[in-house]
């Protein structure tokens, strides 16, 4: 043993500065980019997360709802921390903590005990259950487990327990959002459909959106227009609650009664069709009233589209205040266009966000250049290509799908742009490319309060423009030589 070890013993080595320099330059080369795009198995710095994260966002967003992770406890901690860091808010969720024996015998007993304890300690009105990889691989039957839990008295009959299968080896967080929302709506609306009844309300589905300012903007627009609405699901007060000396476990969310009644609504609108595919398909068949998909209202035109549609559908005039807000946004955009026009942007994010951001950039005369979605469908790519083709400012832009932020890095260093828009994870690529990152998306874990500042609606357009234009001006002020430093910009 010892002689053998002596033969194979290697010396601790250091890379030479020349070698480091060579590789440092090489990873910025065209040749490296090609190699980088050839990889088939390795994913580096992905820009998406797994299904149960999205499920937890929905599961948190109803009145009195306690998210419940069926599977490994570590997953629940990861989801919670992700929301804690992004919103800087509590993010309650519990788990039934399956371990090795659960892998052998299944997780039914864990679920029984978990539901009983969660109910007794936290007194929820609803316990949405969603899964981690583990029970999905071993094939736990949640439908039977939950029925049994009620039959055997582990939890009272009247506690609403919707469940979603959310394996992390399929889709992304937006698919988990979709599955959980579908399940909650199915559960809450069961038996609530009344022939001929119409609540007169609009159901709005915002989709997986970490910006509570956006959700509030949707509600405000409805209120200004005098349209009664139900936001499905409403994370705004859940993930943005005040500090008044008392911690509230359930600080908000869509009222269960409103969600139940949503099946008899006047219309149902999704603002993230890629995050609500299954839900909308089911709503199409089961709900009364109109069903429609609109793009997220990024920028003026898409906001116009939303407001016009609402005005027509509910036969309400566009209120003076919204007209004024539109004019203010256009005023800001015409005043500020010179700081953004022609600037090239890389954008990374979820499909619906990407379509919105690119639409805004085109409106500003900016040039979206590299658009990247970490995991999505060809359908999305086609829609993005069509959007880009609709404006001369979209020319030259490429939409990459199923690529990651290390691919994006190669793009940024070989075909440079002026800035990148995306979530915090893009900061490494931005730094390597020496360009600013505009944080729009999820999660934002290195800046404060951005999740409170809407990026949709007319106000959102002003907010985005302010953030982008002023940063470019800052860079000029910070980097220009003395003779070019001046009072006005």
């Amino acid at each position: 043993m010892s002689t053998e070890a002596a033969v194979t013993l290697k010396k601790v080595t250091e890379h030479s500065p020349e070698e480091i320099e060579r590789v440092k330059n090489w990873i910025n080369s065209e040749e490296y980019k090609e190699k980088n795009f050839e990889r088939t198995a390795l994913v580096v710095n992905p820009a998406h997360a797994c299904q149960p994260l999205g499920a937890q966002m929905v599961a948190s967003s109803f009145e009195g709802a306690l998210p419940f992770v069926h599977g490994s406890q570590g997953c629940a901690s990861y989801f919670r921390s992700t929301f804690n860091r992004h919103y800087r808010e509590p993010a309650a969720a519990t788990s039934d903590a399956m371990t090795e024996d659960g892998a052998v015998f299944g997780g039914q007993n864990n679920l029984f005990e978990g539901l009983a304890n969660a109910y007794a300690l936290y007194k929820p009105k609803m316990i949405p259950v969603y899964t981690t990889c583990m029970p999905e691989v071993i094939g736990d039957d949640l439908n039977a487990f939950i029925k049994n839990a009620k039959l055997q008295g582990h939890i009272p009959e009247d506690v609403v327990i919707p469940y979603a299968n959310t394996p992390s080896f399929k889709g992304t967080h937006i698919m988990g959002y979709d599955s959980m929302l579908l399940s909650i709506l199915q559960e809450l609306t069961a038996g609530q459909s009344v022939e001929g009844k119409c609540t007169g309300k609009l159901n709005i589905i915002p989709g997986f959106d970490g910006n509570v300012g956006n959700l509030r903007e949707y509600k405000r627009i409805c209120e200004l227009m005098g349209i009664p609405y139900t936001l499905l699901a409403d994370a705004s007060d859940v993930f943005d609650s005040g500090c008044d000396g008392e911690y509230k476990l359930y600080p908000g969310g869509t009222k269960l009664k409103d969600a139940a009644e949503s099946i008899n609504g006047k219309a149902t609108l999704t603002l993230q069709k890629y995050a609500t595919t299954q839900t909308m398909k089911w709503i199409e068949a089961e709900y009364t009233g109109d069903k429609l998909e609109l793009p997220m209202p990024f920028g003026v035109k898409k906001t116009d589209e939303l407001i016009l549609k609402l005005s027509k559908m509910f036969d309400k005039p566009v209120p003076a205040l919204l007209k004024k807000e539109r004019a203010l946004a256009v005023d800001a955009m015409t005043d500020g266009h010179q700081y953004v026009h022609g600037k090239k942007f890389a954008v990374v994010g979820d499909p619906d966000y990407l379509l919105g951001i690119v639409s805004f950039l085109l409106e500003m005369g900016a040039r979206p250049w590299h658009v990247l979605c970490s995991r999505t469908t060809k359908k999305f790519q086609k829609e993005m290509d069509a959007l880009l083709a609709s404006s001369p400012f979209g020319a030259g832009c490429t939409c990459y799908i199923n690529k990651d932020l290390w691919h994006m890095r190669s793009l940024l260093v070989t075909d440079p742009v002026d800035a990148i828009i995306g979530d915090t994870h893009a900061k490494w690529a931005a730094r390597d490319a020496k360009i600013p990152l505009f944080r729009i998306g999820f999660p934002i874990i290195d800046r404060i309060n951005l999740h409170r500042s809407p990026v949709v609606g007319y106000q959102g357009a002003i907010n985005m423009l302010t953030m982008i234009a002023n940063k470019f001006i800052d860079i000029k002020d910070e980097t220009c030589e003395d003779q070019w430093f001046e009072m006005m910009r």
């Binding site: 090795e100 008044d244 290390w406």
Partner: protein, 480 residues
Amino acid sequence: MAERKPIEGITIEKTEKLIADTLAEMPEKAAKKRKPHLGANEPSVSSCAVKSNKKVVPGVMSQRGCAYAGAKGVVWGPIRDMVHVSHGPIGCGVYSWGTRRNLMHGIPGVTSFPMDFTSDFQERDIVYGGDKKLETLLREANELFPLNKGLSVLSECPVGLIGDDINAVAKKMEKELDKLVVPCNCEGFRGVSQSLGHHISNDSIRDHVIGKYEFAEEVGPYDVALIGDYNIGGDVWAAKPILEEIGLTVKSVWTGDGEIEKIAATNKVKLNLIHCYRSMNYMCKVMEEKWNIPWLEYNFFGPTKIEESLRAIGKQFDDKIRKNVEKVIKKYRKEMDDVLAEYRPRLEGKTAMLFVGGLRPRHTIGAYEDLGIQITGAGYEFAHQDDYDRTAPEMAKGALIYDDVSEFELEKFVEELKPDLVGSGIKEKYVFQKAGIPFRQMHSWDYSGPYHGYEGFKIFARDIDMAINSPTWGLVKSPF
């Protein structure tokens, strides 16, 4: 060690009543399971009565993570010159990417890899297995990141369930790539907490890493390794210089800002100095048994403990080092006195409650006490009996001890004990801040740090003062 002075209003009887009242609100079965994990401190007993390292009670809202978190986040992730592959579905790698604050030197993507490498398992990988994919992945990673000094493969839940053999793949690829390829079977469902992930990772180091390299230079009489410092917020960079100042040569760091070849050659050092006992005692014991390397626990939080530790370290060496120790202590005493003069008057008499991983509650008590703050409650997410045994003498009689505390319990305890500060994690932070209670994250140093060493104490003192005395807390109560 002298027993802590009693804390006003804290008695064994009162604490036991608080525990009983809290348990009374829980379902019978859960209360029965939780009871042994809660206790009033008896500093003088040889073994702490609080039980630990048991399964999480389902549904109670534990703050624990998993074995993968312990392996990737704690042990492997901080090694800067390796490619760490999160092997399995997308989530685990994403959530653990950059969220522990184990800082590192190097050029990202060139000589250091603070990134997320994953095999992003899809349904077909679950059905057909991921071994082939892993092989390809390791080749691709090695080609695109040629200056890596090794690759680790960290299994996520499905890998162990579908019967993949990452050990065989690692063995084959180590030969093919002529680099360390380390398998680590740290599936999240294994064990009861992060702790098993630490242990499994230590075992991987034992089986696949240690002894495979040797230092280029001759071994010297003052060569030591720094074990169990993960460089959170730059901790290693505040601790290592002190050891060097007393004349020691730090040959390797496990694993904060660590280099794998140096870790592999650690079996040649004279002494292992261990900071985080919980996560790394296993390998210290292995090196002691196999290579007769002694190990010593030390504590670099706060001047009292730093001085104690430096003297204990000095005892392991000759007069030269011992003299250096006294010189260093003298040199920094003035700086530390200045820090205390500034902050202690504003913090004297305050109380704090702590709930962190497996080391810091007991290790930071001295630093709080240096500032005049008493600890009324402490507990761990994933500690074992030996950790609690080391904790009991550090706390006052009757202080509350809680193991794997649930959100429900901790809320009750804090409500009753009304500390001036809670030091715990991100999941707990905003719960208590909403209630108007000052809070510092004690896993991540709340995006500050370092907290180790003399430099670290200056920052710690500033941060604790800032948290407790921020005027913003005065605004919580609305006048209307």
